[in-house]
């Protein structure tokens, strides 16, 4: 049975329900309203983890989001094991299962702690120095070993079963932080009728009122006023209160990211409930009321379990009713720690001594401590502590040295002063200013419509904070457009006040001190490391930070940054503002990948596009491939065929009888208007003016640089109307390219562009029997070879629905592409399929389509071209209008390098062994016996087995390819070198006789 440190007459949790939980397999009891940290402390557990680098025992430093030490894994179930959870913010729930991290075999005996003894090896910059050579050892030894030894929690190894949601929100005033200032600001803004969002990271609003005992607002005790104000705000329709919600990122134009935790505090969350909700808020005005964070004292062995921030001990006492020890010491440079001692003493806890580095502190805090009979050691310092797994004593000495005195303690509270939380302000690109009097950075110049109030603005004292916040809330609301009568603000009082405190190493932890005085607990950075970094030449604080990793852990240096800066400044003999503060970046506290990724995973990662004939293809047994967002039928295996056999059969059937193919994914753009032909002249290399209505042409589009951008068959339907097709993936960018030129370079042209990709379903029927197959379905169009020759287009009816019927071919066979309105695609392909079966036709997929076009040497833009290929390189000079005086790319094409000799040209390749199929992307060399690295003269762009040719075929881009016809070249592969012969690009029906039927 563990001894309870829960006090009967302290805290607000009262006789709350008991909650069972486990830590490292051991069962404990806490109460409802506890955090994991307060529940562990109530059970006398201070040792909760091992440190990152030295594996030193660590306890609980804080009672809030700034916690650098008490990081644990929360294991809900096999899938949901969340590492690096701060015990100080994890709310307790029945059955909570927490495990400590970075220790082996156990928390109390950690074999890795020998690295503490080997610490000279692990000093600042050790990554850069110790482990650099030999190079091979980095990969095999250092890197995996360091990863194993240094680190925090273990990432979950199963997919996250939780789901996450997201919302956008707009408001007049967003208030971040729900302490006394945030509540006052939100209340004032809300009273004006403005739309207000107030968020706070805690489950209950109230901020520092949680532990500040003496404060009263509007005559009520502070915490009670806070809860009453929350109730008033919650009742208002114009206010959205978000608790357990962290404002983590402040982006341009008052766009603030919040993450709301919805289930992490629940014993049994509903599976329907999202774990977290990401809020993306656009606020007309932002009020930052993010408070201040207490700094620890930097002195020897300041990291033992039981050593914590004074304000944290106060929160555990005054809110959770937990005494952090029975014999408590205090080490401070600041008044506020006295109040912790006073509160504890009043609750019956023995205060061993207060050690204050100041010689003559004065004020109510000091008087009250004296009055309670607490021993004060003024002008003294703590030089080290003792204890293995928990602090057992502190060693006190005068600042100038002299005799040491050891005072037994089981907890040591410390306070070096308070650091205003300017994180979000700094993220908003505001510039911080250093206040010399109070020794702190506070908001200076603002970059956005935002204001800081209360402690984060460096405003000391509760009444000035309330006054400032209330006025700021009202002003923000009015600036956002609200109009209301003059409001009167609440009045606040407190016995407490702020004092200057100190930054940097405490007296006795100077350059000659031997023990480790930690600055950054999470990354195990000591005062010595920072001095070492400066000594080794780091001058900029940004360099010191990276060299030592100070402030670079997941706590982002909330407690350590200012100390680190002060030590660096002192070592450099400069002032803090001269050395400068490092930049704060989002997120303020760690945000889960789940909240960021949100719904965008699995099938919702991106849209899936299916053609109207998709289900028809599924019913025919199609195997699909992803082409951009499209699902395209890849091949149609029959009777247990593998892909190879299915594609062979499809290719042969198309050339012997016919094949039916879903070409819907082709991009389609309607170019309409009196200047349509003139526009086409400018956007494509080809001449269009003389193309007769009813005829088609293969068009090539260039960018201004002269390289091929897209291609496709264009049909002229009328003098003023073109039906343009683009590659499947190219449709949006081609339309964008056209719109760009039409709107900005050729705005005088009367042309309208419309994407019709989704409007037309396209069915290709290719092969010698194609005309016989579609003949019975066509109405009003003569489809004889004489009336409808290759590269023609007609409108009419197909299966009774309107059609644009193209006579064209991407297979080299007589072919038709039947465009019908999308809604009829499925019915029409079924009708064609019915007819096709009578003639021995097959369905074929994209793989057979690729093989068939390669047999004919037809290129695919993006496969046989790569953005550096000119029409001439691709053997398409014939498609460039020689008499044209302008088109996009006309000048780029004439650049010297594009006309020079030695360019890569598209050719065919035949392997010497016809059975060998080359790998696409394989490199080509002229001489396989040359030394490595060889001179590569080209690469294979397309390669297939062609059943129709009875051999492998390939297309390749080869330097001076067209002058190498018949030459033997070589394709070196890991296991052998393949001999190939350079050929023309057409492997089948070289004369093109089959095209014309």
């Amino acid at each position: 049975m563990t001894i309870s440190f829960r006090l009967a007459n302290a805290g607000r949790l009262g006789r709350a329900k008991s909650v069972r939980f486990s830590f490292d397999g051991k069962e404990y009891a806490g109460v409802e309203g506890d955090t994991l940290a307060s529940a562990l402390l109530a059970n006398g557990v201070h040792l909760v983890g091992r440190s990152f680098k030295y594996h030193r025992p660590r306890g609980i430093l804080s009672a809030g989001a700034e916690e650098p030490s008490a990081l644990v894994g929360i294991h809900r179930d096999a899938e949901r094991k969340t590492p690096n959870i701060r015990a100080t913010v994890q709310e307790l729930y029945e059955g909570l299962n927490a495990v400590s991290q970075n220790r082996w075999p156990s928390l109390s005996f950690d074999a890795g702690s020998v690295s503490d003894l080997a610490s000279p090896l692990l000093s600042a910059g050790f990554y850069y120095k110790t482990f650099m050579w030999p190079k091979v050892a980095w990969k095999s030894l250092y890197e995996p070993k360091i990863r194993e030894a240094a680190g925090l929690g273990v990432a979950p190894d199963l997919p996250d079963t939780d789901h996450y949601s997201a919302r956008y929100a707009h408001c007049d005033v967003l208030v971040v932080g729900g302490g006394v200032a945030g509540l006052a600001a939100a209340f004032a803004a809300a009273e004006t009728g403005a739309r207000v969002i107030l968020c706070d990271e805690q489950a209950d609003l109230g901020g520092a009122l949680r532990y500040e005992q003496g404060a009263t607002v509007d005559g009520q005790p502070g915490w009670e006023w806070a809860q009453a104000t929350v109730a008033k705000l919650a009742a208002k329709d114009n206010v959205r209160l978000l608790t357990r919600t962290t404002g983590f990122g402040y982006y341009a134009q008052n766009f603030v990211g919040l993450v709301e935790r919805l289930t992490d505090h629940l014993a049994q969350p509903s599976p329907d409930q999202p774990r977290e909700r990401l809020w993306q808020v656009r606020a007309k005005r932002v009020v930052l009321a993010t408070g201040a964070i207490e700094r620890h004292m930097v002195f020897g062995d300041n990291d033992r379990p039981g050593i914590m921030l004074a304000s944290a001990a106060r929160a555990y006492l005054n809110h959770y009713g937990v005494a952090v020890g029975r014999q408590v010491g205090v080490f401070t440079a600041n008044d506020s720690a006295y109040w912790a001692a006073v509160d504890l003493k009043k609750a019956g806890v023995n205060i061993a001594a207060i050690v204050d580095t100041r010689d003559n502190p004065s004020g109510r805090a000091i008087e009250e401590a004296r009055a309670l009979g607490i021993e004060l050691n003024l002008g003294r310092t703590v030089i080290r502590t003792n204890g293995r797994l928990r602090v057992s004593s502190m060693v006190v000495q005068a600042k100038k040295g002299g005799p040491e005195r050891t005072i037994p303690v089981d907890a040591l509270l410390m306070s070096a002063g308070w650091t205003p939380s300017v994180h979000l302000f700094s993220q908003s690109r505001g510039k911080v200013a250093f206040n010399k009097t109070t020794n702190r950075f506070v908001p200076g110049d603002y970059a956005q419509a935002c204001v800081s109030v209360g402690a984060c603005n460096g405003t000391d004292g509760i009444d000035p904070s309330v006054a400032e916040a209330f006025a700021a809330g009202e002003k923000a609301a009015r600036e956002a457009g609200a109009k209301a009568r003059k409001l009167s603000r609440p009045k606040a009082e407190t016995s407490e006040s702020w004092s200057r405190g100190m930054a940097g190493a405490a007296p006795g932890a100077g350059a000659d001190a031997k023990s480790k005085a930690f600055v950054d607990f999470q990354n195990d950075v000591t005062a010595k490391d920072i001095r070492l970094a400066v000594g080794q030449g780091m001058r900029s604080i940004e360099h010191v930070k990276r060299y030592t990793t100070n402030g670079m852990a997941t706590d982002q240096g909330k407690t350590s940054n200012l100390h680190g800066l002060a030590i660096a400044a002192e070592t450099l003999s400069k002032t803090m503002p001269e050395v400068g503060l490092t930049t704060f970046r989002p997120p303020y506290t760690p945000v889960t990948f789940g909240a960021i990724v949100n719904h965008s995973r699995g099938p919702l990662f991106e849209p899936t596009r299916k053609t109207p004939m998709h289900d028809f293809a599924v019913a025919r047994g199609a195997v699909f491939e992803d082409v951009g967002q499209w699902k395209r039928a890849w091949y149609f295996p029959q009777g247990g065929e593998d892909m190879h056999r299915a594609v062979d059969r499809e290719c042969v059937t198309v050339r012997k009888a016919a094949g039916i193919f879903d070409g819907t994914t082709l991009g389609k753009i309607e170019v309409v208007g009196p200047d349509a032909a003139a526009f086409m002249e400018l956007l494509y290399t080809n001449p269009w003016q003389k193309l007769d209505p009813g005829r088609c042409r293969y068009g090539i589009m260039l960018r201004e640089d002269g390289f091929i951008y897209d291609d496709g068959v264009v049909g002229r339907l009328a003098e003023d109307r073109f039906h343009v097709t683009t590659t499947t993936g190219g449709a949006p960018r081609v339309l964008n390219h056209m719109e760009d030129y039409l709107q900005t370079e050729f705005p005088h042209l009367k042309v309208w562009l419309t994407s019709t990709s989704e409007q037309w379903a396209v069915i290709a029927v290719q092969g010698p029997k194609s005309r016989d197959i579609i003949q019975p379905l066509v109405e009003g169009i003569d489809i004889s070879d004489e009336a409808l020759p290759h590269m023609s287009v007609r409108t009419g009816k197909f299966c009774g629905v309107p059609t644009r019927l193209f006579r064209m071919s991407f297979s080299g066979e007589r072919g038709f592409e039947i465009n019908v309105p999308s809604d009829f695609g499925r019915a029409v392909i079924e009708a064609i399929w019915k007819e096709g079966q009578k003639h021995g036709a097959c369905m074929y997929g994209t793989e057979a389509m690729h093989v068939l076009r390669a047999e004919k040497g037809y290129i695919i833009v993006g496969q046989d071209t790569d953005g550096t290929v000119t029409p001439d390189d691709a053997g398409l000079s014939w498609a460039v209008g020689k008499k044209k005086t302008d088109f996009v790319g006309i000048r780029g094409m004439k650049r010297p390098d594009l006309l020079a000799k030695g360019r890569k040209q598209l050719v065919g390749l035949k392997t010497k062994d016809p059975k060998t199929v080359l790998e696409e992307g394989a490199q080509i060399v002229a001489d396989p016996r040359q030394a490595i690295p060889m001179t590569m003269i080209g690469h294979v762009s397309s390669s297939y087995w062609s059943e129709n040719c009875g051999r492998s075929i390939a297309l390749a881009l080869v330097k001076d390819g067209r002058s190498r016809m018949g030459e033997t070249l070589y394709v070196p592969m890991p296991d052998r070198t393949i001999e190939v012969e350079v050929t023309g690009t057409v492997f089948y029906d070289e004369t093109g006789a089959r095209l014309n039927g």
Binding site: R429, N736, Q743, T744, E745, R895
Partner: protein, 99 residues
């Protein structure tokens, strides 16, 4: 996420509706086919890439689909002005020099 005012829609809308389209006021030479290499290089390759005010093109691609021009401070990301395609480069910018 930035808010960008579309001069055609006359509304301030989120950045995800827009797409940047490179530097503005780079006119395509009327007789481009006969440009010499140096002039073509200037037109096609050379951009200002300033630290400070940049004049650039945007397209309201998920809205009205119009291209327009904007003056933006590359240091703060602040949009000082947006204006329609074809309008002259403004001589004065509202709030220029301010942070």
């Amino acid at each position: 996420m930035l808010l960008i005012r579309c001069p055609y829609c006359e509304q301030e809308l989120p950045e995800i509706e827009f797409r940047n389209a490179g530097e503005a006021h780079v006119a395509r030479p009327p007789d481009i086919a006969n440009e010499n290499d140096a002039d073509f290089e200037k037109y096609f390759f050379i951009r200002t890439n300033p630290k400070g005010i940049i004049y650039e093109r945007w397209r309201h691609v998920h809205g009205c689909a119009r291209f327009f021009n904007a003056a933006r401070d590359t240091v703060t990301d602040r949009f000082l002005l947006t204006y329609k395609a074809g309008e002259k480069k403004p001589k004065k910018l509202p709030g220029a020099g301010k942070q």
